[in-house]
């Protein structure tokens, strides 16, 4: 345990970076997912095709590959982001595919009559989605969204191998100096567990307030 206390500043910075990565990627992924899922349920065929292609491509290629492609392949076509931005981009694009699928199941659970009623009131497609369908959809899929977010938190560890100084990278760096892997990685594991627990707690609070019981 001493190892963890001796290197507290390193671990602290690592935890902060992990949280930043998770929060920013969550925001980015939700934004992309809302766009993708709107395309998916839109009446325009090319948009639906785009949404299906997006989900298939990002769910069927591993995150590490996206990360390496974004970091090393984009500069080849003269697009340069810094490493942290690359990590957020990869995590957002990748997780968005999963969020989009969860949101779609939420939209499917909203009764058809809701959208029909909105249209009868004269609302357009976008208004119908943003004011009537999506709010209800979101509230019914809080739990799956929580699970995907915990997955996103765990996935941030993958960025350790590409120069992002997050928690796993901090553990790696401390382990090089101390060669004491067990306390170092168990300690990091416990912190991940606590962060995941925090996400669960926030979700269950939200659920109590928001979930629609049908």
């Amino acid at each position: 345990m001493n190892v963890l206390l001796d290197y507290l500043p390193e671990f602290g910075r690592g935890v902060l970076t992990t949280i930043e990565l998770t929060v920013l990627s969550f925001a980015g992924a939700m934004l992309i997912a809302l766009v993708v899922v709107s395309c998916r349920v839109s009446p325009v065929k090319p948009l639906r095709a785009f949404a299906i292609a997006y989900v298939e491509v990002f769910q069927n290629i591993p995150l590490l590959l996206w990360l390496i492609l974004i970091i090393f392949a984009l500069p080849e076509i003269a697009i340069n982001f810094d490493l942290f931005a690359c990590a957020v981009l990869a995590l957002s694009l990748y997780s968005a595919a999963y969020y989009a699928e969860a949101l779609r199941s939420g939209i499917n659970s909203v009764a058809k009559g809701q959208a029909e009623a909105a249209r009868a009131l004269g609302l357009g497609f976008l208004r119908t989605q943003t004011s009537v369908v999506l709010p209800q959809a979101l509230r019914s899929v809080l739990q799956p969204l929580c699970n995907i977010t915990i997955g996103l938190l765990m996935n941030t560890a993958i960025t350790a191998g590409t120069g992002i100084p997050e928690l796993t990278a901090a553990a790696n760096a401390v382990n090089v100096i101390t060669s004491d892997p067990l306390p170092v990685y168990i300690g990091a594991g416990i912190v991940y567990g606590l962060l995941a627990l925090l996400i669960s707690l926030v979700t269950s609070r939200l659920e109590k307030k928001l979930v629609i019981h049908r």
């Binding site: 591993p62 590959l65 090393f72 191998g161 590409t162 120069g163 060669s179």
Partner: protein
């Protein structure tokens, strides 16, 4: 055009490494040298010593390996000149790879060994839980590591070196790294050395050496710090990077074995002495590192000459 295609190859290679790293590690085990593919290597193996019954009997670990019929070695498959998988033969080639084969022959009478690809983060754990019998992977002997595992050797004295892009002469001493972005491999000794000699350097860690080189080429870092053999190997493959300075720090490589297994350590040290006396160590160096590092074949280090070995 040539440059672009070399970069494309690198990307393709990297993707392949990432995707198939695990599988490659799994299938590389136990493959014998292709007959006639490398006659020099074959004749070297023919001349390699085999342990006597008495020598084997003195080490329970060596006996157990003999009974299993295969030596499990923790090593890398992507370190040029040290241990790199040849894509056409599937064989690992380089200084460490050759030593691994010679050790397998010494114990088993034939170079039958399985390579388990390891990373610096998990080497100690793999030795402790007996997944591997020995780690031969430019494994620097440090006092901290010596508390967890035992080191036979040292079998090679290396040092850290700095690589930069060609035409960037502003780094000639380790102190010049201060204030620069320095690429290091996750969990390498280089990371610790840079922290000590250039505390103001900003370290950026990548998992593999090819990733470090690619990041250097794309300007994500000003310099790349790693053991001399690795840098020498990469500068041979890549004409955009150069060795920026001489080595600093003394970095003795050891063969990692289970902590406190004195009889096996003695056994491995005895073998090292034999291959040094027979000139096999020197030949292995000449065929790998010696093709890039200028100068004569160095004197093999005296066994047990380093704290922790």
């Amino acid at each position: 055009m040539a440059k672009a295609s070399s970069t494309r190859r690198r990307i393709a290679l990297m993707c392949a490494v990432v995707t198939f790293g695990a599988t490659a590690g799994a299938c590389s085990g136990g493959t014998e040298a292709v007959p006639g593919a490398n006659n020099a290597a074959q004749s070297m193996l023919d001349r390699a010593p085999v342990a006597t019954e008495a020598e084997l009997a003195a080490s329970p670990t060596a006996m157990a390996i003999k009974q299993r019929g295969e030596l499990f070695i923790g090593a890398s498959l992507e370190t040029p000149l040290m241990s790199q998988q040849n894509p056409t033969t599937g064989e690992a080639e380089g200084f460490d790879a050759t030593l691994g084969k010679l050790l397998a022959k010494y114990i088993l009478g034939e170079p039958k060994r399985k390579i388990i690809t390891t990373t610096p983060q998990i080497r100690e754990a793999l030795i402790q839980n007996s997944t591997v019998d020995a780690v031969i992977q430019n494994y620097s002997i440090t006092p901290k590591r010596a508390e967890k595992v035992s080191f036979a050797g040292p079998y090679f004295i290396s040092g850290q070196a700095v690589a930069t892009l060609k035409g960037k002469p502003d780094i000639s001493r380790p102190e010049d790294l201060n204030g620069k972005k320095v690429l290091v491999a996750t969990g390498s000794t280089g990371a610790g050395v840079v922290k000590e000699l250039a505390p103001q350097a900003q370290q950026i860690a990548f998992n593999t050496d090819p990733e470090c080189v690619q990041a250097l080429e794309q300007g994500r870092g000003d310099a790349w710090v790693k053991d001399l053999p690795v840098i020498a190997g990469e500068t041979k493959l890549n004409d955009k990077i150069q060795l920026a300075s001489g080595t600093f720090g003394s970095d003795p490589y050891g063969i990692g074995i289970k902590h406190g297994d004195e009889s096996f350590k003695k056994f491995v040290n005895g073998w090292l002495k034999k291959i040094q006396d027979a000139g096999l160590w020197q030949q292995a160096y000449q065929e790998s590192l010696g093709t890039v590092i200028p100068g004569e074949v160095p004197q093999p280090p005296a066994i047990g000459s380093v704290a922790g070995s």
